[in-house]
């Protein structure tokens, strides 16, 4: 039971990092990406590869993961500079589908469908951390650091620049703001932070495969942000916690047939998303609706 609670806490912290970093571009720059799981995956695969082939030190694996995700995110920045709304959603979705194919086929890096096994645990100055309880300290601290970084950015001139661009790109440019550069940097930061979650996930679970980085995950993350409340600080965390606890809670209902638990979880999760959009479209923490 205790291990179960800490496992859940670790997952909430990891998905919390993903939701916070996604909210950074959704809530402040108005960039609704359906490709966030790509950067989660890139972070996981990169840190696993570095951990297995170079050094298990977390001080190397995480920066490497961030770097790779940051570079690849430039591909996502391209459509973000040119199109908005459903066009950008479709572009990010296209990137997500392409990435899943690459993750499944690039066997030397991702292990193909089978995935990567025996990924070394988090290693801080030679100390290995794999117990869920100790790992929880690491994951929660990482979450707090990610929150602190995004909070600092959002409250600075950079955050004002982002919101200004979201509200009116032309006016922002008329006050000297380099719109493409600012948007690109926002996408890069968001992707790099998602890679942190990927690196933590890989070293915590010690096994990864493409299943964790598919479109469903990207939509789950978007749902966490929207259900929690876009552009708020608590929102993505509440959304992440809710969408992770909700399905896992029903596995305790003993009268349900064990073989159908997975499907029932998915059904509850799917309908939960729908019902929340009907009754709380502005999010649980959100102040306003429908922006």
């Amino acid at each position: 039971m205790e291990a179960y609670i800490f496992n859940l806490l670790n997952l909430i912290a990891i998905y919390g990092i993903l939701a916070v970093s996604l909210n950074f571009i959704i809530g402040y720059a108005g960039i609704y990406s359906l490709a966030h799981a790509v950067f989660f995956g890139l972070g996981a695969y990169t840190s696993a590869w570095v951990g297995l082939n170079v050094t298990p030190s977390t001080f190397v694996t995480i920066p490497a993961a961030m770097l790779v995700a940051a570079i690849v995110s430039l591909v996502l920045a391209l459509p973000a500079l040119r199109v908005r709304g459903e066009y950008f959603v479709a572009a990010s979705l296209g990137l997500q589908v392409i990435a899943v194919t690459v993750f499944s086929e690039w066997k030397s890096f991702t292990g193909g469908i089978g995935g990567v096994l025996a990924i070394p645990p988090v290693n801080l100055f030679g100390a290995e951390i794999y117990q869920p309880r100790e790992f929880a300290i690491v994951s929660v601290i990482a979450l707090l650091i990610v929150i602190a970084i995004t909070l600092a950015l959002v409250r600075s001139s950079f955050g004002r620049n982002l919101r200004a661009i979201r509200d009116s790109e032309s006016a922002a440019a008329s006050f000297g703001k380099n719109v493409p550069l600012i948007k690109t940097v926002a996408v890069v930061i968001s992707a790099a932070l998602a890679a942190v979650a990927g690196a933590l996930y890989a070293s915590f679970i010690s096994f990864i495969n493409v299943e964790s980085f598919m479109l469903d995950t990207s939509v789950l993350l978007m749902a966490m942000v929207i259900i929690g409340g876009t552009g708020t600080f608590l929102g993505p965390l509440v959304g992440a916690a809710l969408l992770l606890i909700l399905p896992s809670a029903i596995s305790y209902l003993s009268f349900l047939p064990q073989t159908e638990i997975g499907a029932l979880q998915q059904i509850i999760y799917g309908l939960g998303m729908t019902l929340l959009m009907i009754f709380r479209p502005g999010g649980i923490v959100g102040r306003r609706s429908g922006t």
Partner: protein, 254 residues
């Protein structure tokens, strides 16, 4: 921003033979015009005369077909809008384009900062910026609304916020696109005072305006555009008393 000094009344921005057409229709047709330092030039003309298009060509929001735009002797035509803005040419929009989700204070603050990443500022500089924004709020009558979201402001307040953003910058040339349209006469005085004070402080202003009270109240020069062509560029009296221009402007109403 460039800090080249230039004498009062000398050309700050020179438009030379500027052309722009949209699908065969000439929106700006061979316009040559000087915007002189420290004075207010008013652009007048019927709707569709090409006034806003001229602004868009100067600020880089639109690409010209041919012609030059010289700023302190340097050709800036074809430059990107944000780089032209950084030279000291800033504008307002007829449809305002406020940062609607942000507070009045953040709107003004954001207009003054364009660095990619937050710059370290000395506390003195921080203090000066705060003072400047306070002063702008005071002059536009928005002091009580500083924490209100731009979207929630009344119409006139939105117009003044659009002015406040440009007032807080270090811009040397303001291009104002119908900043007073729809204002009630009570707001005219506040608006004219802003323009006069800033002209006094050395700002060069070019303003598109329809309201004759405002045109007469503020103009040092009037440039008259019709169907993309510059028909006159002279002292207010000369332009306002020209019967030909009056006929174009007022049509059959006169």
């Amino acid at each position: 921003m460039t800090s080249t000094t230039i004498a009062h009344g000398e050309p700050l921005l020179q438009v030379r033979n500027l052309d722009k057409s949209f699908g065969g229709m000439k929106a700006v047709d061979d316009v040559t015009l000087d915007l002189r330092a420290g004075i207010v030039t008013t652009l007048v003309g019927p709707n569709g005369a090409g006034k806003t298009t001229l602004f868009n060509l100067i600020t880089g929001n639109l690409a010209r077909d041919s012609g030059e735009v010289e700023w302190l002797g340097q050709d800036i035509a074809g430059g990107k809008p944000h780089l032209i803005a950084r030279r000291g040419i800033m504008r307002t929009y007829q449809d305002l384009r406020l940062f609607d989700s942000m507070s009045v204070w953040d709107n003004i603050m954001s207009a003054t900062e364009y660095g990619l990443l937050p710059m370290p500022m000395s506390s003195a500089a921080r203090h000066r910026r705060k003072e400047r924004i306070e002063e702008v709020l005071e002059r536009t009558g928005l002091s009580d609304k500083r924490d209100t979201r731009a979207l929630d402001l009344a119409y006139a307040e939105r117009k003044f916020l659009s002015m406040a953003r440009i007032m807080a910058t270090e811009a040397r040339l303001w291009l104002l696109d119908e900043p007073a349209s729809g204002l009630d006469p009570n707001s005219y005085e506040r608006f004219l005072k802003i323009l006069r004070d800033d002209r006094e402080a050395g700002t060069t202003i070019c303003i598109i305006e329809h309201n004759l009270d405002i045109v007469i109240g503020i103009s040092d020069r009037i440039a008259f555009l019709d169907r993309g062509r510059l028909l006159a560029d002279a002292e207010p009296d000369t332009v306002l008393n020209d019967p030909e221009l009056a006929k174009i402007y007022f049509g059959d109403q006169s």
